[in-house]
């Protein structure tokens, strides 16, 4: 079954808006006529911990979590979390990562060092790798908070969901006052 299913992982740090991005993605997939399942863990992870959201779509989806090593696309909002989740991705999978580093508590306290050379480490294992300066592009679009939508745009080009469904999903999930900026951010990401 799984070869007919598209497996997407959205990873980052609690508070980065990962859940909203995965909701928009799921909605777009449903509007495009797919069966969709999505899973993540709430609770403790909201307090600045690691967050992993799984989205799967296809003709019929069973497990809501992406089986280990079967992820098609890893959509990373933060670099270290992107690296941490690489084992979920299948060899030859696609990585779209935000060029952002958020220090975990041990680094903030000076006990550990934020790992260096992350981009190179991802690149060495996944040739299909796109690094996005989500903050800068979102700022150009009108609001730095739309960085997630820039990334979503970048991911959208790699998926078989046509643009109209993405727009409908954005219209449904994004508050109306932020909609124009988010649509712009999405298009800028989609152009990458």
């Amino acid at each position: 079954m799984s070869e007919q299913i598209t497996n997407i992982l959205l990873v980052g740090v609690g508070g980065q808006g990962i859940l909203l991005a995965s909701e928009i993605l799921s909605e777009a997939a449903m509007l495009a006529g797919f069966d969709v399942k999505k899973s993540e863990i709430h609770g403790m992870s909201q307090r600045g911990g690691s967050v992993v959201s799984h989205v799967r779509y296809g003709v019929e989806v069973f497990s809501p979590i992406v089986p280990e090593g079967e992820g098609d696309i890893l959509f990373g909002f933060e670099l270290m979390e992107t690296l941490r989740s690489l084992p979920l991705l299948k060899p030859g999978g696609t990585v779209v990562a935000n060029d952002l580093r958020i220090s975990p508590p041990s680094v903030l306290m000076g006990q550990e060092i934020y790992p260096e050379g992350l981009v190179e480490r991802v690149k060495s294992q996944f040739a299909d790798f796109l690094l996005v300066d989500g903050q800068k592009i979102a700022n150009d679009a009108g609001n730095v908070k739309a960085a997630n939508t820039v990334l979503l745009g970048a991911v959208s080009r790699r998926l078989t969901i046509s643009e109209q469904f993405w727009m409908k999903a954005l219209e449904k999930m994004v508050p109306s006052k932020a909609l124009d900026i988010n649509k712009r951010a999405f298009q800028m990401g989609r152009g990458l």
Binding site: M30, S50, F62, P91, P104, P105, S106, L108, G110
Partner: protein, 586 residues
């Protein structure tokens, strides 16, 4: 119309469609969002209760009054609600009553991973277990019908993956044909004195036998014959993993996990060569199938601990695992108290005072984490106070002074009050700190009886916690500002030394409260780089807004930096700095 709903949203929708009139709960991950969604339907009276026992009693009252009622809780909440539950099984219902127990295999945010299915068997109540959001909605509707048909409360067992997973659901209409609730006396059924209870118990036993027989032909128990060399009995989320990993295996997909449909299990067993039960946690189905004299494989291949995943199921059946890219170890990212959290200073003081801290359940359990590292026990909701009393019964007089219980406002009202009553009653000299941040924070900022608002956002009476403590007989009740480190440490130290019960109540709100006029962000702080000596004192409070920036020359030198986007202006780090290097950003 189709929508993508979480399991919790779908349960709320199912209750709405079933004509439910009352929904009551105490928040608990992963069940909390059910009530936050019944709230969207004005036809349902949704409310937070102080604890799960009260929540269930409210639902029982609504049912006895003739209305359909929903009660939801996390798995450990059922322990609190078990007392009314077991006797409710005898009385049965009038309006349908559905109790949702949301389990947390793998303990994503819980202190244990007890398997709620055991409660269904123990209390003798039917239990349904959905495997996705569509079934969450359908089974909730069905649970109300079964409840009235079999005159029993019906449990619906969810789990973290079901409650927080999302999938496509077809929405239906609300039933409008139910009779209007009206008082009706029926003491023989509802007054459980021994004489009446002895009449009710055999009826319950017979009812379970009847349901087990009827369940063989009910559509939610589904026999799916594919390749008959392997047959798998499964339910809930495990069904999805079985279909994912073993798409050709035959399955008996159980919707009703208690009572089990014995006839159907026998039929399925006779059709397949090798029979398995795939279930998370306890061998609940497996044990009963074995007791029927049927050979089955279960816990030999699937662990008693943690949740199942497709990968773990592959391992269980010795199937090849996909290649996985190895990744080097890197710093972990555990959850942390928020910047400006009013709990931080209290735990810093407790650490400095070398207190023995009996802890409780809430955001403040994170006081266990370094660098605060000031929590010594955490067992269950409300346990901190009773345990502090217990510790002071056995240790020396000198050590008694070290014993401090910490508990949040919501947890204190949940089950801490009785502990404090006992502490005073039995003269324990321990100190209790009530961390009153004016919200039930950990589960996502829910109101409680001390916040002044109901779940439906109506203003209401606000429990006066200091007055309540005094009414319980506590002579020494002190209210402190936890953002003032000197005051916090001094008052805690004085009360620890006191040879009688004392209560300290902190008075600063959670920084995440959205309601106006509760929490307001103060002016942002900054580190003056020329004044910072790199002593790292400010790092000892573990605020996520403060970052150590190494000098970069390979030495241990560096300076602190405050992220202006994260800082809430709580002022605590300024008090940590002996060199006046931290101040308001000009």
């Amino acid at each position: 119309m189709k929508e993508i709903l979480s399991g919790n949203e779908a349960i709320a929708r199912g209750a709405y469609e079933a004509g439910c009139l009352v929904a009551c709960a105490y928040p608990g991950t992963p069940s909390t969002e059910i009530l936050e969604n019944t709230l969207k339907y004005s036809e349902i009276n949704s409310s937070w209760a102080p604890n799960e026992k009260v929540a269930l009693e409210v639902a029982i009252g609504a049912s006895f009054g003739g209305g359909r009622a929903l009660c939801t809780m996390k798995h450990v909440g059922v322990n609190v609600a078990a007392d009314p539950l077991f006797t409710l099984a005898y009385t049965g219902v009038r309006g349908g009553l559905v109790l949702v127990a949301a389990d947390d295999p793998e303990m994503h945010s819980s202190q244990n991973e007890q398997d709620s299915r055991n409660y269904a068997r123990f209390a003798k109540v039917p239990m349904l277990e959905p495997s996705d959001s569509r079934e969450c909605k359908e089974f909730t509707r069905l649970a109300f019908e079964l409840s009235e048909q079999y005159d029993a409360p019906v449990m619906l067992r969810s789990s973290t993956r079901i409650s927080h997973g999302k999938s496509v659901v077809e929405l239906g209409e609300r039933i409008t044909s139910l009779p209007a609730p009206k008082l009706q006396k029926n003491p023989a059924k509802l007054v459980m004195l021994p004489g009446n209870a002895r009449v009710r118990h055999p009826l319950v036993e017979q009812s379970m036998v009847n349901l087990s027989k009827a369940a063989a032909t009910m559509p939610f128990n589904r026999l799916e014959v594919r390749d008959t060399s392997i047959g798998i009995i499964t339910a809930g989320i495990c069904y999805q993993y079985v279909r994912e990993v073993l798409p050709n295996a035959s399955t008996l997909k159980l919707g009703l996990v208690h009572p089990l449909p014995h006839d159907l299990i026998r039929e399925f067993a006779s059709k397949v060569d090798k029979l398995y039960v795939i279930e998370e946690l306890d061998p609940f189905i497996e044990g009963q199938v074995k007791a029927m004299g049927i050979a089955v494989i279960g816990k030999e291949i699937v662990s008693l601990c943690g949740e199942l995943t497709p990968g773990r199921l592959r391992t269980a059946f010795r199937l090849p695992q996909p290649a996985v890219v190895p990744v080097d170890a890197m710093p972990g990212r555990p959850p942390n108290m928020c910047p400006g959290c009013p709990h931080r200073g209290v735990f810093f003081a407790l650490n400095q005072l070398k207190a023995y801290v009996t802890g409780d359940i809430g955001c403040y359990t994170l006081g266990f984490m370094p660098p605060l590292s000031a929590m010594d026990t955490c067992v269950c909701m409300g346990a901190s106070i009773g345990m502090a009393t217990g510790v002071t019964k056995v240790v020396s007089d000198e050590e008694k002074k070290k014993v401090v219980a910490v508990i949040g406002d919501s947890t204190f009202l949940h089950t801490g009050i009785n502990g404090l009553m006992d502490m005073v009653y039995n003269n324990s000299p321990a100190t209790v700190i009530i961390l009153d941040n004016s919200i039930t924070a950990m589960t996502g900022r829910q109101d409680n009886p001390a916040t002044g608002f109901t779940l439906m956002d109506d203003p209401t009476h606000r429990v006066d916690i200091p007055l309540l403590c005094k009414a319980l007989g506590v002579k020494n009740v002190r209210v402190i500002n936890p953002l003032d480190l000197e005051e916090t440490k001094r008052v805690i130290s004085e009360e620890m030394d006191r040879c009688e019960t004392s209560v300290i109540i902190t008075n600063k709100p959670c920084v995440l409260i959205k309601r106006e006029d509760v929490f307001e962000k103060g002016p942002v702080y900054a580190v003056a780089a020329d004044a910072c000596t790199g002593c790292r004192a400010c790092l000892k409070i573990g605020c996520p807004a403060i970052e150590w920036q190494p000098a970069g020359d390979g030495s241990k030198k560096g300076k602190a930096h405050i992220d202006p986007l994260l800082c809430t202006g709580c002022d605590v780090c300024r008090q940590m700095c002996k060199f006046n290097a931290i101040g308001r950003l000009q």
